[in-house]
Symmetry: C2
Subunit: 214 residues, 2 copies
């Protein structure tokens, strides 16, 4: 849909039929809004402009649809993160690039954060499958290795890589998901304007850069 969209540019998306794409987009919106349990098959069908029975024709069940959506979405987001890492050399540049890519990916698809959080409320069975060392998505482990490398090379002070990656990812996710609450502290935040996006990236970059430097 959007040019440069993390999701619709992904190879595993472009090969879908039009109906499958419509279902997929509708399901993402609905699952992100209402969660695994709160989502309604009827709403997804309406939004996709098809019949409810068709959902069961393409995906056996609601569970099947949920898993398909979640796996595709998490994979493409994590791929965008690792791609950003590969495009830069110095630590500060990489830090900014990953922040930029990850925040913009989430802002362009705010439903994804909701999907992942709801998944965690249910024990994250699908997300855990996606993170398995062999055959899973490599984004988080790649980020951990990135921090480990920066510590080893003396670019940043010694820091627990797992804790930092949790803080890093969380600072972006929470900004998107908590927006309804935060915007009552500062209404401009909810505009999603380029100015607000840059302000968030600048804040996180300087906080983390100073927080990590040797």
């Amino acid at each position: 849909m959007v040019p440069g969209d993390m999701l619709t540019d992904h190879p595993s998306y472009t090969c879908l039929s039009d109906t499958e794409k419509a279902i997929f987009n509708a399901a993402l919106t609905e699952f992100g809004r209402a969660g695994r349990c709160g989502a309604r098959m009827q709403t997804i069908a309406d939004r996709a402009g098809i019949n409810k029975a068709m959902l069961h024709y393409y995906f056996r069940s609601k569970e099947g649809l949920y898993e398909a959506v979640l796996m595709r979405v998490v994979s493409s987001f994590m791929d965008s993160v690792t791609a950003a890492l590969d495009r830069h050399d110095t630590f500060p540049d990489q830090l900014r690039a990953v922040l930029d890519a990850y925040l913009r990916a989430h802002l362009s698809r705010p439903e994804v954060a909701g999907l992942w959080l709801n998944e965690n409320l249910n024990g994250a069975p699908v997300a855990r499958k996606l993170l398995r060392p062999k055959g899973g998505v490599e984004g988080p482990r790649r980020m951990i290795a990135w921090i480990e490398g920066a510590v080893r090379d003396g670019h940043i002070r010694p820091v627990d890589p797992v804790h930092f990656v949790i803080t890093f990812l969380g600072s972006v996710v929470i900004y998107v998901i908590g927006m309804p609450t935060f915007s009552s502290l500062r209404p401009e935040l909810a505009s999603g304007s380029e100015e607000q996006i840059r302000a968030r990236i600048d804040h996180l970059h300087s906080l983390f850069y100073h927080g990590l430097k040797s």
Copy 2:
């Protein structure tokens, strides 16, 4: 229940009848586990050791019960944060005390984070009501004022107080809520042991302290 529990020590809790307390605790657990839609009134009744009809006697509907639980819980958590601020003088000590209080509050009631997130997925009507300037809960605005004061007094470098508070609260919330995912990166995290709690607090304290100091 637990001595020192943020919730059960709160004045608005201790004046409830035994049945109301039982309902309240059961509802908190169930709503946190399954979300606003996934929660089952039958499960809440069973856990509270009462009949399903009693839930509708004390709280008119499922929605009413949900709102009552959420408002009470968010208030008491935010009160624990401001109390921690008042107990210390220097910025580093306050930073550690608030981190400690807020993380332990969430770990003692992991359902609360899930409740707040589900609330945001629905546009956060209750949370926004709680944050209104007059008559609402003062925790977040109190934290913002704390950061503003520290900047003004030269204890920390100039930083956007709202963005920092978002990052601060989010780094704690995401740790609790994302545990099912993160524990597949490092299984020990899920133990919730004192060692793991301290490691998280130490990480965040040093990251934020170095990230903010003049």
